[in-house]
Structure formats: structure tokens, C-alpha cells
């Protein structure tokens, strides 16, 4: 009897959790419930579905278009996911579409969240990263009425729009800036060794596309430079990122680029703790640890997300297409070094800024061709 009571209480507790998280549509919770017991999961599913339906009725007043964005990671990373969310929020404001964001940190959650969106009958499902590639290949064809979009990779399908970035070009500029910066020994914390670092989140192809550009940019400036590379293996462990960055600082690097979403804040913090420097990614992270972030490689994920929603609202959505945003059309760029200039004052090496602008022109004009990692590039 007591056990029965306890299980009833547990189900109740789970439902309360669900209710608490409805504004986040936390599919995670019923996903983990599914592992515990199928009965509980069914009950929780019902509760979640009921909650979602009422929500959609209320906000369907706008243009009536419902958009779901699935993330591989959490919002609040001040990086990739937040950038994507900014675009979605802007679209919500401009077009009155309904936006649902689903976060997840494990592969099981990603697939469950993705399928939940397909089943829920959203007009547009945006997969925010290449982590969803496999699930899209497997399931998109089964939902011909749903429009899909994927950012950061290309997935073929009649109802899928792909948007990817020339992150190799942006990283080229970042690598060049880092390679110049590591020679500026009169700046505090910069040592004599020509060593720079790079820490990534998960070891996935798109990150290698970043790295290829970064390394090429650094070697363009100084062919003898050493580039240290590490992966944290996770998008949401800042402490792991911090440890990896500190290890690279110990090994002589004085500037480390992070491409690590939620793992990234730890890398920037490591730069501050060690009195060294970092490079931000995706969003402008220059002000996160002022004076320790040289620049950020901004990737306009927000624009990609916004344009996709716009195309659906305006009826111009075309499945099976691929767009590729480069340095030339502002899809990727470096920040203007403003925060670093303020921190360093007269010490700020303006030649870095000039050289970056020059390299940018050369990339746009085609004078410099930045290599791609296998499977990336304009024609993919």
C-alpha cells in the first residue's frame, strides 16, 4: 500500500515538474520518465500534450504559423544556441509566429525532442545544429507536410531547407588574428612561444571545418606556428572546457579560440584566471571577460533562423535548397575589437585590425581560398 502511495506521489511530483517547465517545453523530463516506467511516462505525456494544446490555442492568433526549434544543448550558452534563439525571438516579434524551443543535452533527448515536434504538427521544425542530421535523414520523409530546416549542415530532402556557414573563412581571420597576437610580447601575459590554442565542444565535422580555417589562417601569418587542439566532448561542461584551456595555457599557448557553446564560458573564464586571452565564437562574446577576449568570430545563426521563418511566413520556403553564408555576405565575421581596445588602450596592436580587414578583402575577392573540411563548402 505504502509503495503504491509512493508511486502515485512520484507521478504527481513528475507532473508538477512538467507544469513548472511548460514554458520551456521540457521534453527531457518525460523522456527520463520513459526510462523509469512506461506507465508513468504515458501519464506524463498526456499531461504534457494537454499543456501544449492549450498553449497553442491561445497564441495561434498571430499569423497562425507554428515553429519549433530543437537545440542540441541548452539555451543560455551565450553562443550558438542563444544566437539561434535571438533570430527566432525576432521572428516571433515581427511575424507573430508561435515559437517553441526544445532543449536537450543527450542524443536520446535530441531524437525524442525532434520526433515530438514532427508529431505535434508544427508548420516548420528548425534543427539548430548538425547533431540532428541523422534523425532528419531517417524521419523527415515520413512527415511530408512538415517543413524542415537545418542550420550548419546540409541534409537532402524535398521538405528540407539547409543553411550552412563558411565558418572556415571566419576562423581563418580568427586564426590570423591569434597568430599575430601571440607575437605581441609587450602585452601582459603573452609569452615568446608561437603557440596558439583551440578548444572545441564535440568532435563533429562542422568543428573540423572551423579548425581547418583557424589553422590555415594562423599558418598564413606564421608558417612555423604550433596550434594546439582539444575537444571537450560535450556542449555543456564549462569546467571541462576550463581545464582544457588551462592545460593549453600551461603548454605555452597565450590565446585560445573556443568553439564550444555552453562549454565555452569556462574557456573564457580560464583566460581570465590565467591572465591569458581567448577568442569568442558565434555571438559577440568580447564583453564576457572584458580585456581577455581578443575578438569573437560571429556566425549569424540568428539571421539564418530568422530568414527561414520569414520564408515560411511569406510562402517562399523551398525544400531541397541549400544556402551558404560567407564572409562576403556577412554570414561570418570578426568583431571590431572594441572591448579589447578599451582594455589595452594605447597598447592595442592596430596592425591586427588592419591586417584582418585586408585578409577579409582578399577572401572576398578570391585571392585567398580557405580550405574546407571534407563535406563542407559552397557546392556541398
Amino acid at each position: 500500500m505504502k509503495k503504491k502511495l509512493l508511486s502515485v506521489l512520484l507521478v504527481a511530483a513528475m507532473t508538477v515538474c512538467m507544469a513548472a517547465c511548460t514554458n520551456q517545453a521540457d521534453v527531457n523530463t518525460d523522456d527520463s520518465a520513459a526510462e523509469e516506467s512506461t506507465d508513468d511516462a504515458a501519464a506524463a505525456d498526456d499531461a504534457a500534450a494537454a499543456g501544449e494544446e492549450t498553449a497553442s490555442d491561445e497564441s495561434a492568433a498571430g499569423s497562425g504559423i507554428r515553429v519549433a526549434v530543437v537545440y542540441s544543448g541548452n539555451l543560455g550558452d551565450k553562443s550558438y544556441n542563444d544566437s539561434c534563439n535571438e533570430g527566432a525571438m525576432k521572428a516571433q516579434e515581427d511575424f507573430g509566429v508561435e515559437i517553441k524551443s526544445l532543449e536537450g543535452t543527450t542524443a536520446e533527448e535530441w531524437e525524442a525532442n525532434f520526433l515530438a515536434c514532427c508529431e505535434e504538427g508544427y508548420d516548420l521544425v528548425i534543427c539548430s545544429s548538425s547533431n540532428f542530421e541523422e534523425y532528419m535523414k531517417e524521419h523527415c520523409a515520413n512527415y511530408p507536410d512538415v517543413k524542415f530546416a537545418v542550420i550548419d549542415t546540409t541534409v537532402e530532402g524535398d521538405n528540407i531547407q539547409s543553411i550552412s556557414f563558411a565558418q572556415n573563412q571566419g576562423s581563418f581571420l580568427a586564426g590570423a588574428a591569434a597568430a599575430m597576437f601571440t607575437e605581441m610580447t609587450d602585452i601582459e601575459g603573452v609569452n615568446e612561444d608561437a603557440i596558439i590554442g583551440w578548444v572545441g565542444g564535440m568532435d563533429i565535422p562542422v568543428l573540423h571545418d572551423f579548425y581547418v580555417g583557424y589553422e590555415q589562417g594562423a599558418k598564413y601569418i606564421n608558417p612555423d606556428i604550433t596550434v594546439l587542439q582539444s575537444f571537450a566532448g560535450t556542449w555543456n561542461d564549462p569546467l571541462k572546457g576550463k581545464e582544457l584551456a588551462l592545460a593549453q595555457f600551461d603548454q605555452g599557448a597565450d590565446i585560445v579560440m573556443n568553439v564550444a557553446s555552453g562549454t565555452g564560458p569556462g574557456i573564457l573564464e580560464a583566460a581570465k584566471d590565467a591572465g591569458k586571452y581567448a577568442i569568442g565564437v558565434d555571438l559577440n562574446q568580447d564583453a564576457d571577460q572584458p580585456g581577455h577576449v581578443l575578438t569573437s568570430m560571429v556566425k549569424r545563426v540568428d539571421t539564418a533562423c530568422y530568414l527561414t521563418i520569414q520564408s515560411v511566413v511569406e510562402g517562399t520556403f523551398q525544400g531541397g535548397t541549400t544556402s551558404y553564408l560567407t564572409v562576403a555576405d556577412g554570414g561570418v565575421s570578426l568583431t571590431d575589437f572594441a572591448v579589447m581596445k578599451e582594455a589595452l588602450g594605447d597598447q592595442f596592436p592596430t596592425e591586427i585590425e588592419d591586417k584582418v580587414a585586408e585578409l577579409e578583402e582578399m577572401i572576398i575577392s578570391g585571392e585567398i581560398v580557405v580550405d574546407n573540411y571534407e563535406g563542407f563548402g559552397a557546392n556541398q
Binding site: 509512493l6 512520484l10 515538474c17 514554458n23 520551456q24 542563444d82 555543456n236 592545460a247 600551461d250
Partner: protein, 309 residues
């Protein structure tokens, strides 16, 4: 790849830095284990502690108060486990897993409702645990590099290991606790209030778990991220098994984990495949547990054979 870039003096501090949160977690698990209660909820207690510490530090600007409140928060979570397990006889593993899931959800929810952020929270207003700077060590080459600028909680964990060892093996309380863990009925017959001992063990474990969390978010870093414990609590439980709940051996187990992690971080930078390096902590966990179980079994066998002779 240069060997001196991987094995050098700074590796010692890196190892200790990576181990400290796990040592706290392992001590949290060891105390209950002495009373024969497996504290799977370490992870959840830590997470709640980490969140509380950041929130209190941000709101009050006082790191000491932040630590104290997070310890109390850890104890409050542990109290749920204690009541569920001791009073209502619930299976401790189930409660522990429940606590872990609850901690993940409640911190996510409170992060949103109290601090208005989602995902992660960092702010210059968060006052971290100060680092101990020893001026005269600045000029000592190797020692200075290793021992200078440790966070207070990193020094404190050493004291805590010693204190808890003393508590377990040199005090009446420790003897009673271990008696309860070994053979409950005998302890009861000897006039020990078994339930009171169990409550005390779980609550103290909660205090240490809260401290573990506070160190994670204020000592090791200066931010809070959802699920920032990232299995460090479970690694602590594994190390506790390795050390057979003896604080010193447990801490050694944690240092092995920390060492594997730190060496991994250095080796990776030189092109060793990340997949292999990231696998290391798990391989080490399996190895460490296998070795400790094997030696335990051997000791058991020896004890039994000496009984028959």
C-alpha cells in the same frame, strides 16, 4: 609531442584542481556508506549546492555566507532522502536517482524564476571563493608554481579528509557509525540508536555535498550551468567504492581520476584523437572498480580461511 609539456610541475596542481570536487563528492558518499547507505544522490545534492552558492553569492556578495547556505541546502535535500529511506523504508537507490532528477529540474526552474536566466549564469557580481596567495612562494620556482593561488576550499579538502578519517576511526561516534554499517542488529542490541545514527550520517553527508557544489561553482569556477556537476558526483561514488569508504584511500581514488583527466587534457592538444582521450575517465573508472573489487574479494577470502583454521 614534447614529454616535458605533458608531465611538468603544473600537472600536479592541475590534477589536484580537477580532483577536488570529486574528493568532496566522494567524502559525501563515504559518510553514508559507513552506515551502509549508498548515497547515489550525491550528484543531485552537489548540483543544488552549486546553484545555491552562486545565487547567494550573487545576491549578497558574501562567499562565506554562500557556502554556509549551500551546505544547509545540501542538508535539506539530504533530509528528503533520509526521511524517505529511514522512515518510509524506500529503496535508497531509487530515492537517490529521484533526487538527482529533482535537482536537475529544480535548479533549472529556479535559475529561470529567481535569476531570470536559462542555461547558464555568470555575472561579475558573483563573488568567488578567494585564492590563497602566499607572497614568499612567488620567488620559489617549482613549489611556488604548484602551491600558490589555491582556492581556500582546495586547502580545506585536505583538512576535511583528515578530520573525517579521525571521526571514523578515532571517535566513539565513528565506531558507532561503523557498527551500524556492519551489523545493524548488533548495534541496536548494544544500545545504539540506529536510526539516529543513520539520520546523522545522511545529514552530514548533505552538508559536505552542499560544500562540494559550492566549491564547483565558486571555487573551481565562477558560474553556474545547468547540470554542471556532469557526473562528478557519480565519479565520487566510484572513488568511494575504490577506497572502501576510507577517506584517505577514497581521496587517492579521486586523484587517479583527476590525474587521468589532466593528462588527457594535455595529450589531446598534441593530436592524440579526442575520442580516445575522452574515453579514458570511463576506462579508469571500470579499472579502478575492478581492482578494488578484486582486492576486496581476496581480503574476504583470506579472512574466511583464517576463520576455519
Amino acid at each position: 609531442m614534447q614529454f616535458s609539456n605533458i608531465i611538468n610541475a603544473s600537472l600536479i596542481y592541475a590534477t589536484f584542481r580537477a580532483s577536488t570536487p570529486i574528493i568532496y563528492a566522494a567524502l559525501c558518499a563515504a559518510i553514508t556508506q559507513q552506515a551502509n547507505i549508498l548515497n547515489i544522490g550525491t550528484e543531485g545534492i552537489m548540483l543544488v549546492g552549486a546553484f545555491t552558492a552562486v545565487t547567494v553569492s550573487y545576491l549578497t556578495g558574501n562567499w562565506l555566507l554562500a557556502i554556509l547556505v549551500s551546505m544547509i541546502a545540501g542538508m535539506a535535500i539530504a533530509l528528503i532522502m533520509a526521511v524517505g529511506h529511514i522512515k518510509y523504508k524506500a529503496e535508497i537507490c531509487a530515492i537517490g536517482m529521484g533526487i538527482n532528477m529533482f535537482a536537475l529540474a529544480i535548479t533549472k526552474y529556479l535559475l529561470n524564476s529567481i535569476l531570470g536566466k536559462s542555461g547558464s549564469f555568470s555575472d561579475p557580481a558573483i563573488v568567488g571563493i578567494p585564492k590563497v596567495h602566499i607572497p614568499f612562494l612567488d620567488n620559489v620556482p617549482v613549489i611556488g608554481e604548484i602551491f600558490n593561488n589555491w582556492a581556500i576550499t582546495e586547502w580545506f579538502v585536505i583538512i576535511l579528509v583528515i578530520v573525517i578519517t579521525f571521526l571514523f576511526y578515532k571517535t566513539v561516534w565513528g565506531l558507532r557509525l561503523r557498527a551500524v554499517g556492519r551489523f545493524e542488529l548488533a548495534a541496536q542490541t548494544a544500545g545504539i540508536n540506529v536510526n539516529a545514527m543513520k539520520y546523522q550520517a545522511i545529514l552530514i553527508s548533505g552538508l559536505i555535498g552542499g560544500l562540494a557544489g559550492a566549491h564547483l561553482s565558486l571555487g573551481y569556477s565562477n558560474l553556474f550551468t545547468e547540470g554542471m556537476t556532469n557526473n562528478r558526483g557519480f565519479m565520487g561514488v566510484a572513488a568511494m567504492y575504490f577506497g572502501n569508504a576510507h577517506p584517505v584511500f577514497t581521496a587517492v581514488g579521486c586523484l587517479i581520476f583527476g590525474f587521468a583527466d589532466s593528462v588527457g587534457a594535455r595529450v589531446q592538444a598534441y593530436g592524440v584523437p579526442s575520442q580516445f582521450v575522452l574515453m579514458m575517465p570511463y576506462i579508469i573508472t571500470v579499472l579502478v572498480l575492478a581492482i578494488s573489487m578484486a582486492s576486496k574479494k581476496a581480503a574476504e577470502k583470506k579472512r574466511k580461511s583464517s576463520l576455519t583454521v
